[in-house]
Subunit: 473 residues, 2 copies
């Protein structure tokens, strides 16, 4: 390969300002969000539109240059970080940031891959519609990255993952051809589901350049409550009751253990534990209502008083205002921040069938204690869809870094084994990237791995699209 | 190929009663529902379970026998009918009819491919849950067939197609290996989306033997209304208003032209036109409510009176009872029956973006009239998801069969061209099978066809899985 010829061709295609090679320009692209991985790149390439992306991919193919696509660089599994060879090209999609179309009557919006999620939400809101995907990084992640990793978030219970929010895609294939699959159709049964193959493939089968997304009618009210309970089994009972009484109006159901809220109170003095007495578990519930705030409040009150009558809930707080709703959500969102502030944790992004959450916790907590006596469990997450952030913190007084170093491998292996035994997944919403690539392959059946490899080979026979991610080499 | 050796091996595997070769036994399997296609088969094979299916596929591979999977044989595109060579084996999945598991707390149910859709609905109801897939053939179609064709139906507006209702699959690959992908997880980001690749592939990439399906809380009330309107544009305005006011409670939104209801009244004397005066269009709306019948009625009344105030709706009827609700739905369901009773129609199962329905009809009706003067339009369907059954009936007094013979090719080509020009699909919910295989390929881009062929070759290099369906040979 002739680097100079390749780079010259890139400069001719993109303009010299969009072929970055100086460390000062490239560093921000080459380390992942959690600072677990730092790679090197032949260049950071910043195409302006889908046509340039396609031409760029053809250039890379012609020169045998492996490609690593990147959106907002907020991924949590190292999927957008190149290896350390310095032979890979990093393709940043950030300049593809136009909202191409909002079709309010069709309840769709077409956005380019580099649009920030927050900008997609805002474009929907400007048309009095809701784009419900919502996650902590929404101010800096891109919709292309959300699609490539099939991002989850807090509203999956009602609206599904990013996959369920996408009707059509535009993709540049590993051969540099542009596939226009930007359909705004709710029904289309004309052949294989290419769309869902690219979604969640983390750029290993092609490069998403734009998407047509589903919108929803904007709820007129959002009503939030906290419920204090004795155990995860009670939380599961509350979930089933809430689904029965509120049906699709239930849009959030987050579980937080007592230790999580204690930790938040300890780190952020103004965020006190919300109940008068300590309770083992707290659930944050949210209803979204298309009728009125009064209707939502009445329904939430009836739901919680029924739950108290049935002995499911011990105590409850209903937000009186949007500000108070936001304060309750802020408690939930402060848990990972409080964790970070107190040092590194052994983190797991797992899901089991919702019905299995209580037995999974009962089975797994003692396993972790046997391996790492005194470890503190920071268990919280999206109970409504079975997705827990099952994190393990050093015992009181033990250095977090030393703890991580000593226990990460054994604890994670044991947690993943238990997840697998409970018919769960070791990556619920973060994807595989390079972080969980091998662990995931360990639990997949040979049949499934063979099918995945057959897909990869069929689409990317040269192996140039984000190599080393998702599938072991 | 040695037929005798193959058939003997089949008998040894399945038992002699499940290898059918006599016309009296096989005829029902070899002609499709609409009697468009009649094929021949080397044998009709009836495996008892997934293990037998896998062994049978290996036998077919060993003997080079092409396979045609079949569920309830209710498909509308000839996807489950073998060719006329007599060299293909028809594999009926009907004996795989167990509900393997109902996990009410996880809101999932695992059913084998041969379960009738009605039995899946009943198993969900027995656990006080809803499986929302609903279509005319539900008493005779199988869930495996629903998955293979990604069936739609009347509740897609709220619950999505069969694809959106499936969490996991068990599949026998074209190599006769069993893939256990029966996950009951709402979030799982560990690699390529194999599930959605098999869904809608009409048995050309593998054979679905079981599925884990999503359940929902059972609504306590369903409330139905008819609204009389002046035009499809008014129907679209009503849809947007209903989505805004009722949000996810809106579960049905069906459009019926005046001619459709006239036809029903003409054929079925007891089903009179429901309004005092004729109106160009009628919409059937349905709300499903988890609170109470009173709440649903109040909301529906407010919605319709707002629509009347805004000049969108001319007249409205709200059902007073479940019996009356059923009678309103019966009107809608009688349209295809009335069509059949009055002779063959040129039928189209199309979808366009919901916002494009009025302009599509305005543009296409005159095209049809120019080609076939006096033809009568039987336009009805699922406006809520843009899916219309855009059917063309012979002019008054013209023999339907002669009309069909003369105009089918030209009218269908013109309708499909117009659908394509309006960014729509020529098969919204029926699939391609052999009926629309070539027409669909005509409208697909070379890139998309190449990707589909790459998938087919990667999964089924010998081309033995339902050959000649979905993709042109």
């Amino acid at each position: 390969m002739n680097d100079t010829a390749f780079l010259t061709a890139c400069r001719n295609l993109l303009g010299r300002d969009h072929v970055l090679r100086e460390a000062a320009d490239t560093d921000a692209y080459l380390t992942d969000q959690r600072k677990r991985y730092t790679g090197r790149a032949l260049a950071v390439l910043r195409p302006a539109d889908a046509t340039q992306v396609a031409a760029l991919v053809r250039l890379c193919v012609d020169h045998g240059v492996p490609m690593v696509p990147q959106g907002g660089n907020t991924g949590l599994a190292g999927g957008a970080t190149p290896d350390t060879s310095g032979r890979q090209a990093l393709i940043s999609l950030r300049r593809l940031d136009r909202i191409r179309q909002v079709d309010a009557e069709n309840m769709t919006l077409t956005a380019e891959a580099g649009c920030l999620l927050a900008n997609v939400q805002a474009a929907a809101a400007a048309a009095e519609r809701l784009f419900p995907l919502s996650l902590a990084a929404e101010g800096s992640c891109t919709i292309g990255g959300n699609l490539a990793t099939n991002a989850g978030g807090t509203a999956v219970l009602r609206y599904g993952n990013t996959r369920e929010l996408c009707l059509g895609l535009e993709v540049v294939t590993p051969q540099g051809e542009l596939w226009d699959g930007l359909r705004g159709l709710r029904k289309d049964n004309t052949g294989y589901d290419l769309r869902d193959l690219f979604i969640g493939a983390e750029g290993t089968l092609g490069l998403i350049t734009a998407a047509t997304l589903k919108l929803f009618a904007q709820p007129v009210a959002r009503m939030t409550a906290l419920a204090a309970l004795d155990s995860p089994a009670h939380a599961l009972a509350l979930l089933n009751l809430a689904q029965r009484m509120a049906g699709p109006l239930l849009t959030g159901f987050e579980l937080m253990s007592h230790f999580c809220l204690q930790l938040v109170a300890q780190v952020f003095a103004q965020q006190r534990y919300p109940f008068a007495h300590p309770h083992a578990q707290t659930v944050l519930l949210e209803l979204s209502d298309n009728e009125s705030e009064a209707h939502a409040r009445d329904l939430l009150e009836r739901l919680l008083s029924t739950a108290v009558d049935q002995g499911i809930v011990r105590d409850a707080i209903i937000a009186n205002s949007l500000a108070q709703s936001n304060a309750l959500w802020h408690l939930r969102e402060s848990i990972p921040l409080a964790q970070s502030a107190t040092g590194l944790n052994i983190k797991h992004d797992i899901a089991v069938p919702v019905s299995q959450v209580p037995v999974f916790l009962e089975a797994t907590d003692p396993i972790v204690q046997r391996l790492a006596p005194g470890a503190r469990m920071v268990t919280f997450g999206h109970l409504g869809d079975g997705n827990l952030h099952y994190n393990v913190m050093a015992p009181e007084g033990v250095d977090p870094a030393a703890f991580l170093h000593q226990y990460q491998t054994s604890v994670t292996a044991a947690v993943h084994d238990s997840v697998h035994a409970h018919h769960g997944t070791i990556s619920a919403e973060h994807g595989l990237g390079q972080l969980k690539r091998d662990a995931s392959a360990h639990y997949k059946s040979p049949v499934e791995l063979a099918l995945m490899r057959a897909l990869k080979t069929a689409f990317d026979p040269l192996g140039l699209m984000n190599p080393g991610k998702v599938l072991p080499g």
